[in-house]
């Protein structure tokens, strides 16, 4: 039961307190050469050919005040990232989630996607993680090639700072399908979490980014990320991923959480009458979610009143499942100081670091990784 109780956290300085774990920080390569140097020869001349998002944001996708005059984007200078984001916000651990426009699930060629994932993982392990021991790493995989992706997970997953495997939110078929399970088996074996982060939805060979089809504008695309996640979560729970891998820890990043109470209630309600379609579930579906799934806070829900936000937190069991994420340096990020609304002390500790410590099985001191 990986998600049943929060663990006490002891730090070497004796305060017994971490301060903040950030679940979503986007580092990026300044030039494609940083990645393509790790591609095999058969793809080196191709460079990076990844499907791009065709929806536009009139305000841009990055914190605009941090864009370089030459168009350079924040997150490329890892030393600067450590000092400006980690030091200033007193972040104990931060999960590097890379360039989310890579869209490996939306590439038609499986082998090329595997090799791009391998190149990213080499860059992550060789060039990113050594910069600061507070950096945590997310492996990239190619969901259309689950067996080869499982090999990547075993090849790179033993690095102490690597704590999760990232899946793009959008894929060919839902993530509960057994075809993907070799990746989950490898992640469970390597004690890595699986995290779903928005990308590939509606790109390249992916399905439409909403169940209703292709939306007209980015406001629709971005608003409905949670709806896409509902499809993935229904699939992994009802297909029995957490029955097969009871210790697998899973996170949904950047899809919001206001929908979680509704989703758990509806799934439990339907399970009472439709249980026979998923007889391997031996407890209410919401119980698997509470034990095995975490949700990142960003983009923070902004209901009409502060009290309504507190009610959402209570209804979703945020004390067990919610983790803070800044999404730095993206346009919809939440500031570590001003992004989280005030909440009761024990809940705030859970959201700021205790739940993330469980998700990634983190020691209190980064030097103990």
């Amino acid at each position: 039961m990986p998600n049943s109780t929060s663990t006490a956290v002891d730090t070497p300085d004796g305060t017994g307190e971490l301060t903040l774990v950030d679940a979503d920080i986007h580092q990026r390569w300044a030039s494609d050469e940083e990645i393509t140097q790790y591609l095999p020869e058969r793809y080196r001349d191709d460079g990076i050919v990844a499907p791009t998002l065709l929806y536009r944001n009139p305000g841009g996708f990055f914190r605009q005040e941090e864009m370089g005059e030459d168009g350079s984007k924040p997150g490329t200078d890892l030393e600067e990232l450590a000092s400006s984001h980690f030091d200033e916000n007193d972040i104990d651990y931060g999960m590097l989630t890379g360039n989310s426009w890579f869209n490996l699930a939306a590439l038609p060629n499986r082998d090329y996607a595997v090799e791009l994932a391998r190149a990213y993982n080499k860059w992550l392990v060789d060039d990113c993680l050594p910069v600061d021991d507070r950096f945590l790493g997310s492996l990239y995989v190619a969901p259309k090639a689950p067996e080869q992706s499982a090999e990547l997970i075993r090849e790179f997953g033993d690095h102490p700072q690597v704590r999760q495997v990232m899946l793009p939110g959008g894929a060919e078929v839902p993530y509960g399908r057994p075809q993907y399970w070799p990746m989950y088996e490898a992640a469970a074996e390597m004690n890595l979490a699986i995290a779903v982060h928005p990308f590939s939805e509606g790109h390249g060979t992916s399905n439409a980014p909403t169940g209703a089809g292709h939306p007209n504008s980015y406001i629709e695309w971005h608003t409905l990320l949670g709806a896409y996640y509902m499809g993935q979560l229904a699939s992994i729970v009802t297909e029995g991923v957490f029955v097969e891998y009871p210790d697998l820890r899973w996170a949904f990043i950047e899809g919001g959480y206001g929908w979680v109470p509704h989703f758990m209630w509806r799934l439990d309600k339907n399970w009472k009458g439709l249980r026979s379609q998923a007889p391997w579930l031996d407890q209410p579906p919401s119980q698997y979610i509470r034990e095995n799934v975490w949700f990142a806070s960003q983009p923070i829900e902004e209901p009409e009143t502060a009290e309504q936000h507190n009610q959402i937190l209570e209804m979703m069991h945020a004390d067990e499942m919610l983790i803070f994420a800044s999404d730095y340096p993206h346009w919809d990020g939440d500031d570590p100081t001003w992004g989280l609304p005030p909440m009761e002390d024990s809940l705030e500790r859970a959201v700021r670091y205790e739940n993330a410590v469980e998700l990634w099985d983190l020691p209190a001191d980064p030097t103990d990784l």
Binding site: P58, G59, R63, Q64, E65, D332, D335, T337
Partner: protein
């Protein structure tokens, strides 16, 4: 009035469509020239306290019916660099809820320099300070027409002033 008067820069250094961000009395403040009028906003978004005045200077769209767009308020909108909230520089009001969501505004104007005033009596921010960057002001003029043709001496000697 107990307002404090701050001289920001020469009017020549803040042409229409430009802005300068400076620190006044401990507050970071953006001073804007919108079509020849001057406005000042606190550089602090009411949402998550992003440096609002560093955002994109732009216009926005209005519409009479679905599917139609009309561009309006060109150079009168500053868009928060983090979450894209749009604010009308001339009022501080947000575009999406002008009645409740506002950025703090200050009075800004251009005043003729007083004869005989010496430099050391003025409260002009040091242009070398990072928050007082006037370097881009006046450097983006397009075309070959000399922009100073219609300026007279008095206008050139005007100073942009903000009252806090």
């Amino acid at each position: 009035m107990s307002e404090k008067r701050f001289e920001i820069c020469s009017a020549d250094d803040l042409p229409p469509g430009e802005r300068v961000i400076t620190t006044l009395d401990g507050f970071s403040v953006g001073v804007f020239n919108v079509g020849g009028e001057y406005f000042a906003l606190k550089n602090d978004c009411p949402h998550q306290r992003a440096p609002l005045c560093e955002g994109k200077l732009t216009g926005t769209t209005v519409s009479d019916e679905p599917g139609e767009y009309e561009w309006t308020s060109d150079d009168q909108i500053v868009q928060c660099p983090w979450h894209g909230w749009e604010f009308d520089i001339t009022t501080g009001e947000s575009v999406f809820n002008p009645h409740k969501v506002k950025a703090k505004t200050f009075e800004a104007t251009a005043e003729a320099e007083e004869a005989g005033q010496s430099d050391d009596e003025r409260d002009v921010p040091d242009p070398s300070m990072p928050d007082a960057d006037c370097s881009s002001c006046g450097s983006d003029l397009d075309g070959s027409e000399p922009p100073v043709d219609t300026y007279d001496v008095e206008v050139e000697r005007e100073t942009v002033v903000v009252y806090l």
